[in-house]
């Protein structure tokens, strides 16, 4: 079984792409999702990841920093090992096929109708032997995403109270709700780095690229809530280095001691209590009804789930998850990246990475 790896059409405007990096060599055993090589469009770098497990054979004619047209065969992945003769046969035969394919693009009936209605250019489908309705719909939807970005870019009007929420998940929903209730900030947009939707809560969803442009050129408030903590950390850094600033969201029902120290991009939900001399690092989330007593320290990126109780002089490391309704006894220390199960009581110290049950 042979899988062809071809240069894919990644956007509307580019018909050819520059091969910039090859991370494997012919005969290597590769795994599904392994990053094999990268090519560059006029706008972005595309990392090609393997669709299958198998042995990779690179097209002997490819070179780094050369431009290749859409449909050009970069490599093949074979289930079994190939001899060099067999390998060359695949490339020479396919070369012939390609020449023929380039002459003709066949549209299905539905695809042709859509193609004509949508006023598309045939070069967008160059190198494809058959174009189906799905191909056109996919093409149009990626096209539309970009259009959405362009449109919303013009609409955003910013002032000192404007806030952009980075993320479109459930945490973003909660944060948006609390901010709307408080009325101090005015949410102007969400950011989705995957460009999967174009609007949310009647507000525009903008691309990461546009977000970067905005935070560099404007003074705007930002709250970041995405599930990938590494990425979140990078974004934190990005915002801190820009002209914009990160905010901390505190629900109006929360009781926070004036002697507590709170970092940036922190979330403190409804009915939470924060005692004196507590230190809460960046990006900590305290969810409904949780409490941290006096003199305790919570590391950056940690989540304190609903109803969790944390006693005095407790130290919790970075990126920990404290489960629902659990309690941490006073003077307990928990290392980085620990998970505390729901509904339990922690009375001893734990090292980093522990799953505490």
């Amino acid at each position: 079984m042979i899988d062809k790896i071809l240069i894919q059409q990644e956007n509307v405007s580019d018909d050819e792409y520059k091969l910039i990096e090859v991370l494997c060599k012919s005969g290597d055993k590769v795994k599904k999702d392994q990053h094999l090589f990268s090519y560059e469009s006029s706008k972005a770098v595309i990392d090609y990841e393997s669709n299958n497990n198998g042995f990779i054979y690179l097209n002997p004619s490819i070179k780094i920093d050369e431009f290749y047209e859409v449909g050009h065969q970069i490599a093949i992945i074979s289930k079994s090992k190939l001899t060099s003769d067999e390998m060359h046969e695949y490339f020479t035969l396919d070369k012939n096929d390609e020449i023929q394919d380039q002459h003709e693009v066949n549209f299905t009936k539905k695809a042709l109708k859509l193609f004509e209605q949508s006023d598309l250019n045939i070069s967008s489908f160059k190198g494809m032997s058959i174009v189906t309705e799905d191909h056109i719909l996919n093409f149009l939807s990626s096209h539309k995403k970009r259009d959405n970005n362009k449109a919303s870019k013009q609409k955003l009007k910013l002032n000192e109270n404007s806030i952009i929420i980075y993320g479109i998940g459930s945490q973003a929903d909660v944060v948006f709700d609390i901010l709307s209730e408080a009325g101090k900030y005015d949410t102007v947009a969400f950011v989705d780095f995957k460009n999967s939707i174009s609007d949310k809560e009647n507000l525009p969803v903008i691309s990461h690229e546009y977000f970067e442009e905005i935070i560099q050129n404007n003074i705007v408030n930002v709250y970041i809530c995405i599930p990938d903590q590494d990425k979140e950390e990078q974004l934190l850094k990005l915002v801190k280095e820009s002209n914009s600033k990160l905010i901390t969201v505190i629900d109006k029902s929360a009781v926070v001691s004036s002697k507590a120290t709170i970092g940036e991009n922190v979330f403190i939900g409804p009915n939470c209590t924060l005692g004196p001399y507590t230190e809460i690092a960046d990006s900590v989330r305290m969810l409904n009804n949780s409490s941290v007593a006096h003199h305790s320290v919570i590391g950056s990126g940690s989540w304190i789930s609903d109803g969790a109780r944390i006693g005095g002089y407790v130290v919790i490391g970075k990126r920990c998850l404290i489960g629902l309704n659990s309690s941490i006894n006073k003077k307990t220390t928990i290392g980085d990246s620990c998970i505390v199960n729901s509904n339990i009581s922690v009375i001893t110290n734990h090292k980093a990475g522990a799953f505490i049950k």
């Binding site: 079984m1 042979i2 062809k4 289930k79 079994s80 003709e104 066949n106 299905t108 009936k109 539905k110 494809m128 032997s129 058959i130 174009v131 189906t132 309705e133 799905d134 191909h135």
Partner: protein
């Protein structure tokens, strides 16, 4: 002295058979036995004239034939007792026994054409060996016997037929079932006829010598021996007159000899009984071998798919020409025999080259005059002839001109070809290949257009193979010979004149399996498939022809086209997501109790679940008129409509 020896041997056989009947009444034997009490002198005298390399083709009443040949009853006793040490390992029993020099089957007349094929190969191999086929007078009503006589007459094979005429077929006197003159019948086929009777040892001996010498000299012969069966047909089913039986008992030479030598007989008989009882008492109880009984019609092997390799030797050739090339190379390599009706090129009377109704065998009889032969119109006979050749390990191709005529071959295929390789408890190779075109769309009407392959599916030891527009004929026809069993190759009348497909359809890739009989899989490259179509033979080309139109309708099926229909290897359907897309079967013949029925039930049994199944087939009697044929058969004319309907009308 010679007479005495014959009589003593006859007594030996009679003692064994009497012993069998005793064992039977004690409940030590299973099933039934047919004894030859009263007829023993025939096999004793005939076997006396046979030499190494001759082969006996026996019948249901074969104990005497076997013992006269083998001179020991031990393995037969164990066989009847159903022991693994029996001559057929407890599988064949009384009627199904095989050794190097002996083979029997209880189907009347079934072995007659096989004995002709056997002796034909003996002549071809320039041996002096003959075949001896025993039949009873009842079998004189069987058509296959006359087909065998016809073939023996045509090919002048060293075949001897011994008719043991005991006057009764089971319970029916042949006065009611046999009219006319047997001698004239035999001579009518160009065979020499000899007659004798069981009550004149000298005459019987002389006639046996003459008949066998005549046969050995290359003249097929018949020896008819008048005799009388002193016991019932089987065990207790005698409806003859007691006075008649008593009269023949008196006349019986063995009985007379016993009466004259009573003292010797009593002592001898007691010794023999002791000897036989010893065999019974020392019989082992090793387990019987079930593996011989298993019908391996469903298999699961590891199958790998690789890119389709166009068979370059078929470039620019029509499929009938490719088959012709393959046959020529295989005949040359294996010294294989090719027989059929109207398959040779020319004769004095017909000087214009013919070479088969579909020209598949054109030129072969000129290239291999000793190996390629026309036969009479005797479909069952020539399949039997092929089996006889294959029994000598000489591969034989039999062409059946139209697949419809395969109904005439059912007995030979099911009772002989399917059984011989395993019913004798040891593996018997049978390199027989039956080639026949099935299917319609050429206006040949109700009896020349059917797809009857389903009659032959899932029998043990029979491979059914259907070629298609991608087939490498060299590989498939060679595998059909080297698999050492009967292979029925279904060809397609319509595609004989088409060429093997060179390139995949646009947007598709073709994969082939690494099986002995290559299967094909076509997959869309431009999209995930949204249906799976399963078909075979002629239907592949029809579907490929309309694939662009199907794609136009947004239908991109994965197509699976096996070559071997039976045994079925369900692993060719591995990795097909039947539960996620509709599955469509296309068969040219009727879908009722067909290949597709079996595939669907086997897949269900293996745990697959289906999103949707539909079957496209022809459920009509086949008309001659083209307009009607175009409507009833699935073909490129209607497949888009039929497939679209089954995809969307659910």
């Amino acid at each position: 002295m010679m007479q005495e020896n014959f009589l003593k041997q006859a007594i030996y056989i009679r003692e064994i058979e009497t012993f069998f009947l005793e064992m039977f009444s004690k409940g030590l034997l299973n099933g039934t036995v047919h004894t030859c009490v009263g007829q023993e002198l025939t096999p004793v005298i005939v076997s006396d004239k046979l030499t190494d390399g001759d082969k006996i083709f026996s019948n249901h009443r074969g104990h005497g034939h076997y013992i006269a040949d083998k001179n020991s009853p031990d393995e037969l006793i164990l066989e009847l007792m159903g022991k693994a040490e029996g001559v057929s390992c407890g599988i064949g029993g009384s009627q199904h026994i095989s050794t190097n020099s002996f083979i029997s089957n209880g189907i009347q007349g079934g072995l007659a054409p096989i004995s002709v094929g056997y002796s034909f190969v003996q002549r071809l191999n320039k041996t002096k060996n003959i075949s001896v086929c025993y039949i009873g007078d009842g079998t004189l009503g069987e058509g296959q016997f006359y087909e065998a006589l016809s073939l023996a007459g045509i090919f002048q094979t060293p075949s001897l037929f011994v008719i043991e005429n005991n006057g009764y077929a089971q319970s029916t006197s042949n006065k009611h079932t046999l009219k006319g003159n047997v001698e004239k019948r035999i001579e009518g086929f160009g065979l020499d006829y000899f007659a004798s009777n069981i009550w004149d040892i000298d005459d019987l001996n002389n006639k046996a010598i003459k008949a066998i010498e005549n046969t050995r000299s290359g003249k097929p012969s018949v020896l008819e021996i008048e005799c009388y069966r002193l016991n019932s047909h089987s065990k207790g089913d005698d409806n003859r007159k007691e006075s008649e039986i008593a009269e023949f008992k008196e006349k019986d030479l063995v009985n007379i000899f016993i009466k004259d030598n009573l003292e010797w007989y009593q002592e001898h008989s007691a010794d023999l009984k002791k000897e036989f009882n010893n065999v019974v008492e020392n019989a082992q109880t090793n387990p019987l071998d079930l593996s011989f009984l298993k019908n391996n019609s469903l298999i699961e092997s590891d199958i790998d798919w690789v890119k389709y390799n166009f068979p370059k030797h078929q470039e620019g050739k029509r499929i009938n020409e490719s088959i012709n090339d393959s046959l020529a190379s295989i005949i040359e390599e294996f010294d294989a025999i090719l027989i059929g009706e109207d398959i040779i090129d020319s004769t004095l009377e017909t000087p214009v080259q013919y070479g088969g109704a579909f020209k598949v065998t054109k030129g072969l009889s000129e290239q291999f005059p000793d190996l390629v032969h026309n036969t009479s119109i005797s479909e069952a006979g020539i399949i039997g002839f092929g089996i006889g050749s294959a029994l000598c390990n000489r591969p034989c191709f039999v062409e059946i001109m139209f697949g419809d005529f395969m109904t005439l071959c059912v007995d030979q295929i099911i009772q002989q070809a399917s059984k011989i390789p395993s019913m004798y408890g040891k593996k018997v190779n049978l390199p027989l290949v039956i080639r026949t075109p099935m299917g319609g769309r050429r206006g040949y009407g109700p009896t020349h257009s059917q797809n009857l392959e389903k009659l032959f599916l899932f029998w043990p030891n029979i491979d059914v193979v259907a070629i298609n527009c991608l087939t490498d004929t060299n590989k498939i026809y060679r595998s059909a010979v080297t698999n050492n069993k009967t292979t029925i190759i279904i060809e397609d009348k319509v595609s004989y004149t088409q060429e093997t497909m060179r390139k995949p359809p646009i947007g598709y890739k073709i994969l082939e399996s690494d099986e002995e009989f290559t299967s094909f899989k076509l997959e869309p490259e431009f999209s995930e498939p949204n249906a799976v179509v399963i078909l075979y033979g002629s239907m592949l080309k029809e579907l490929i022809d309309v694939l662009p139109d199907l794609i136009d309708e947004e239908i991109f099926p994965t197509i699976i086209c096996p070559t071997r229909l039976s045994p079925l290897d369900i692993n060719i359907f591995r990795n097909i997501n039947f539960d996620q897309m509709p599955c469509i079967f296309i068969e040219e013949g009727s879908k009722r109790t067909s290949w597709s029925s079996e595939v669907i039930s086997s897949l269900l049994e293996s745990g697959k679940s289906f999103n949707h199944i539909s079957r496209i087939s022809n459920e009509h009697l086949i008309p001659c008129a083209k307009d009607l044929e175009d409507i009833i058969f699935p073909s490129k004319l209607n497949l888009v409509k039929l497939i679209t309907k089954s995809m969307y009308d659910r």
